[in-house]
């Protein structure tokens, strides 16, 4: 910060020191002064068209828009007062005259800026008694729907598609009060960042098809989380309903990681939490208690020759450490190998990159277990010819496609101890001796290290669905039992 030129300004008599290239609204927001806005978004270019962020600046005859006004030394800004209120009130009235006011059936209700600012600056009754302008309704793409009449033409979505996703599908068509957002005929809004358009829409014009009519937003409980779907580690907010079901996942601002964007894959991945979950611990295919299962597992680990452990890059640092300490203290001869969800190429957009590495914690595998290359580690284990007496497999990857290498490892294992949350190709593979039900990402606490080396922790956002336990808890419990048996 020291080499950035700064200026001193005053907002409502509150002194601030901000970089010289900032705008008034950014200075206000950063320093906790709320200025209403629709079209302004910190990560997009400035349009200055909604006209509600009016503030008074000393020396200027009338209110100016804070989003387009650069700060200058000694500037004195007033964000309240009669003139500002009047300007905002009139803009608010203009916003609503052609708006259908269909809040009862609008998905945005409850988190709509028109509602919020109307509460502050709106009139108690309308003065507009003419026919409203009716605009089109469209399905923009697989994940986004459009209600034209609700649109306030802030052009956030158009700027997003031009600047961040770079796909440029959206444009404004017609002019005046008939302006609306449209796709070129025959095209659709089908890119992996499309749902951000629904997020940044300040009103209910662009909405997520997935969340549409699922619930009212005031029935949701929001908790902060991380997205586990790739190595970027987007910060998210998970909204769940009163029954504890996840309803949607939206990005949460973190300028060091994902700004305010995330990909559609991550948003739409959560249904696996409720699919084919493993119920109780299984020993030889029969449901048992946790204690029996742990005993069976420990007997296998200690009682069979040539045991091995295999852990995926989907596990938290805590699980990795628990496994490491269990084996190091009580089964020092067991070697730990790692494996990862198969990746693909990075998807690079002008303002965002979706990582091709579909594992949240490959860096953790490297830092805690010293496994530099998870694929090579698995391949090495697969190539060995001798039979494995027992394979401790800590899985936890949703929608996993069995790889040849993993198949080879399973084939040469006589017994498999599996830690996973769902029934999958692995549980049905046949040689699973003990299976522990575990938790999905959204049900447990933990820490991941993303591909930039940033360690981010997260907490559970919903109650566990089923009877699973956290992998690290299971491993620690086994460790404790070993300690007890050694003492005894």
């Amino acid at each position: 910060m020291s080499d950035v030129k700064t200026v001193n300004i005053k907002v409502d008599d509150k002194p601030m020191t901000v970089p010289a290239d900032w705008t008034v609204i950014r200075a206000c927001q950063t320093n906790g002064v709320e200025v209403p806005h629709y079209c302004y978004h910190p990560d997009l270019s400035i349009a200055g068209n909604c006209r509600i962020c009016m503030v008074m600046i000393k020396g200027m005859p009338r209110p100016v828009v804070a989003c387009a006004q650069p700060v200058s030394e000694g500037m004195e800004v007033t964000t309240t007062g009669q003139e500002v209120e009047e300007a905002r009130k009139s803009v608010m009235e203009f916003m609503l005259i052609n708006h259908p006011l269909d809040c009862p059936e609008c998905d945005q209700a409850g988190e709509c800026r028109l509602q919020n600012y109307s509460y502050e600056y709106g009139r108690d009754h309308g003065r507009f008694h003419e026919e409203k302008v009716v605009k089109s309704k469209a399905t923009m793409g697989p994940n986004v729907k459009y209600w034209g009449s609700r649109c306030i033409v802030c052009t956030r979505c158009v700027r997003f598609s031009d600047e961040v996703s770079g796909t440029g599908e959206l444009g404004v068509i017609y002019r005046g009060d008939k302006s609306e957002i449209a796709l070129f005929p025959g095209k659709e809004l089908d890119n992996p960042l499309s749902m951000n358009n629904a997020d940044i829409c300040p009103v209910g014009a662009l909405v997520s098809s997935d969340f549409l009519y699922q619930t009212r937003v005031w029935n949701l409980t929001s908790k902060d989380s991380l997205c586990p779907d790739c190595s970027v580690g987007c910060n998210t907010r998970v909204d769940s309903d009163k029954k504890g079901y996840i309803k949607r996942i939206v990005p949460r601002r973190n300028d060091a990681v994902n700004k305010e964007w995330m990909c559609d894959y991550g948003r739409l991945s959560f249904p696996y939490v409720y699919e084919n979950r493993l119920g109780r611990p299984l020993v030889d295919g029969k449901a048992t208690g946790w204690k029996e299962a742990r005993k069976a597992a420990l007997d296998l680990l200690g009682g069979t020759p040539n045991a091995a452990a295999l852990i995926s890059a989907w596990n938290t640092n805590e699980t990795l450490a628990a496994l490491k300490s269990l084996l190091a203290n009580h089964f020092p001869e067991i070697r730990i190998s790692g494996y990862a969800n198969p990746g693909r190429a990075d998807e690079v957009f002008p303002g965002f990159t979706i990582s091709g590495d579909k594992n949240p914690n490959r860096a953790g595998l490297r830092q805690i277990l010293g496994i530099e290359d998870a694929e090579a580690s698995l391949a090495q284990l697969a190539e060995e010819k001798s039979k494995l007496g027992t394979l401790l497999l800590v899985h936890g990857i949703p929608q996993f496609e069995m790889s040849e290498a993993l198949k080879a490892v399973l084939d040469r294992s006589e017994n498999v101890i599996l830690l996973d949350f769902a029934e999958s190709g692995l549980t049905r593979y046949g040689n699973v001796a003990v299976a522990f039900p575990t938790l999905t990402h959204y049900e447990k606490n933990g820490t991941y290290i993303n591909r930039k080396g940033l360690s981010q922790s997260f907490r559970s956002v919903v109650e566990p669905f089923g009877y699973g336990r956290d992998e690290s808890e299971i491993l620690q419990e086994m460790h404790r039992e070993m300690e007890r048996s050694v003492k005894a």
Binding site: E131, G168, G171, Y174, K178, F184, G186
Partner: protein, 217 residues
């Protein structure tokens, strides 16, 4: 698949090099496409987008923002009648419109069923001293009413092998128009304040009917 003819393509290339950015040549490239195909349709927009290296959505935005480009829903002969105050004074606009209506059976915002003629009201054409001003595609006419206009339409009809009688019993078709043409209801009656003529039109702000363009979404 449409393509530009080689001469126009050369001209387009010349524009693209003359202008500081390829995007900035878009207005003129669209004119070339209008010349080539007679109007700008979706394929034409795609060609322009390719040439100027912009997105098709942007070109669509341009074509719908600027009202002078000829679109597929306009007739082959597109009448634009100025309806702004200076022309509308003394009922000049109405006279021009009623002459067109009498000959071709179309009012503002409509076209003939054979798609040959369309009529629309436009805003000021900047020749206010000689009202009413009428443009037919790229031809500009001043004081265009009465016999002058009728004679001109007769000439057009003759060149198309049609006569005014052909349009007598045919109902007009509404053009798809949002900004492209003005509301149909307008009737300026500036002659006197007492007992002025008024049209009892349907409300002008209904969404467009009989859309000839593909509905989106």
């Amino acid at each position: 698949m449409k393509t530009l003819s080689s001469t126009r393509l050369e001209k387009a290339e010349a524009y693209l090099t003359e202008y500081p950015t390829k995007r900035s040549a878009l207005l003129m490239v669209l004119r070339l496409i209008e010349e080539e195909f007679g109007h700008i349709d979706d394929e034409g927009m795609a060609i322009a987008a390719d040439l100027c290296e912009v997105t098709t959505a942007h070109v669509q935005g341009m074509v719908t923002f600027y009202t002078h480009y000829k679109r597929p829903y306009h007739g082959k002969h597109r009448f634009m009648v100025c309806a702004t105050l200076m022309c509308a004074l003394d009922g000049n606009t109405d006279e021009a419109l009623s002459a067109i209506k009498a000959k071709l059976g179309i009012g503002p915002g409509e076209k003939t069923t054979d798609g040959l003629f369309s009529c629309e009201k436009v805003e000021c054409l900047a020749d206010c001293d000689r009202a009413p001003v009428v443009q037919k595609d790229n031809e500009h006419f001043c004081s265009m009413k009465g016999e002058k206009l009728e004679g001109y339409i007769d000439g057009l009809l003759q060149s198309e092998g049609k006569s005014a009688a052909d349009y007598k019993n045919e109902g007009p078709v509404r053009m798809d128009s949002r900004v492209q043409t003005l509301p149909v209801h307008f009737n300026f009656d500036g002659e006197n304040t007492r007992g002025a003529r008024r049209l009892d039109d349907k409300d002008p702000y209904l969404p467009p009917r009989n859309t000839t363009e593909k509905p989106r979404g």
